[in-house]
Subunit: 228 residues, 2 copies
């Protein structure tokens, strides 16, 4: 069994959000598809350990905010690698409460779908929730949706050679080591830097300030290991 | 409710196949995601009216063949718009029987996932099947997976202006009318032609031979209507 096959499935990237009483939470998910058109229903798959799972179980409502290709890594890191038990993820994030009363992300979102749970299936570590769509809309038609492939290949600094944005790294950069976050797997590539947060291409890992942290999961610089 | 929001969800494009006794069938689907990693499971959503649904119900087994970006429209049309009750879709298609005994498509496929159904959920017009993966593998690592967005925007002849492959149509072509298949919605664009089947860009719809048929669903030329 060559599990690399799983990486050939194509996905988008979404913020799935819900509420429990007056508390909100949201998380990054790549697993969502429309199930039926009459009535419109949508499926999501959520890990049972996640706070968003607890909130969906409680309120039976969720929203899927579809984020744009230009979404900064920090935003994905906040919703994807932080836990809502530790922080209020919606602090400093623009959102609105829609038809069903759960937060719809407005920052970096190009569309939203709100639903009420009508069915669910226990799948071990995850639950598939099917929701009947109560409202949906386009927020920004000028930007393309973020895909999981794009996030992995471009946003993490690994640009495929076939991509129009690929640039051959200068010889000097090639000798600089890449470092991998032991928490979330993010690769710091000195040939790319982290333009989103002002780290220019060409900055060696060793030259990053000691208070620098992973742009995805905020792990300390010390959590990074040199790529073998 | 602006249903255009649904089109912002990202999907791949797959041949989902199954068997019933000694008969095989397969269909195009865009709805599949991995659900859990331990054990590896995968979800698919299938319309109850489809023959593949009947076969999965009967054998409790299915395979997902992930097709490449370069898959010709005719191949997608055969699996997507023909019915297995009328034709044997696997005639003249290279396939293998894998671990669970259902056909894995080899033509145009870059990877496959085989599974046995362990759970299912009735969703009205569709059923979501969850299968435990019994085998999976990569068939062609050099090609990218077809995405639903790519299929719609490029394969149907509508190339977005932001695409590197976009070419401004010559003035002469712009005056040529586009024709839409009333069966499957395929748009014949004379500015693009159907390079897959030797119809060069610049060929007017009126100049296509009378025996020409829709490259997606094989509907007769007479089923096409001029775009308004």
């Amino acid at each position: 069994m060559d599990k690399a096959a799983f990486h050939k499935l194509s996905y988008g990237l979404y913020v799935v959000s819900s509420r429990k009483n007056d508390k909100f939470n949201g998380q990054i998910a790549n697993t969502s598809f429309q199930v039926t058109s009459e009535p419109p229903t949508i499926a999501i798959s959520i890990n049972k350990q996640n706070l968003t799972h607890e909130y969906i179980e409680a309120s039976r409502k969720f929203a899927v905010s579809i984020i744009s290709k230009s979404t900064p890594m920090q935003f994905i890191g906040k919703f994807g690698f932080k836990c809502g038990r530790d922080i209020n993820k919606f602090e400093n994030v623009n959102f609105k409460l829609g038809e069903v009363g759960v937060p719809i992300v407005l920052d970096n979102a190009i569309a939203f779908i709100e639903a009420e749970v009508i069915n669910q299936m226990d799948c071990g570590s995850h639950t598939i929730f099917v929701g009947q769509v109560k409202d949906c809309g386009v927020l920004n038609d000028a930007e393309e949706p973020m895909t999981y492939a794009y996030y992995h290949e471009v946003k993490r600094g690994k640009t495929p050679k076939t991509s129009p944005t690929y640039q051959e790294a200068p010889e000097k950069d090639k000798r600089k080591a890449r470092y991998i976050c032991s928490v979330c797997g993010y690769t710091y590539d000195p040939g790319t830097g982290v333009p989103d947060s002002g780290i220019n291409a060409g900055t060696r890992f060793e030259d990053l300030p000691s208070e620098w942290s992973c742009p995805i999961c905020s792990a300390d610089k010390a959590k990074f290991e040199k790529e073998q």
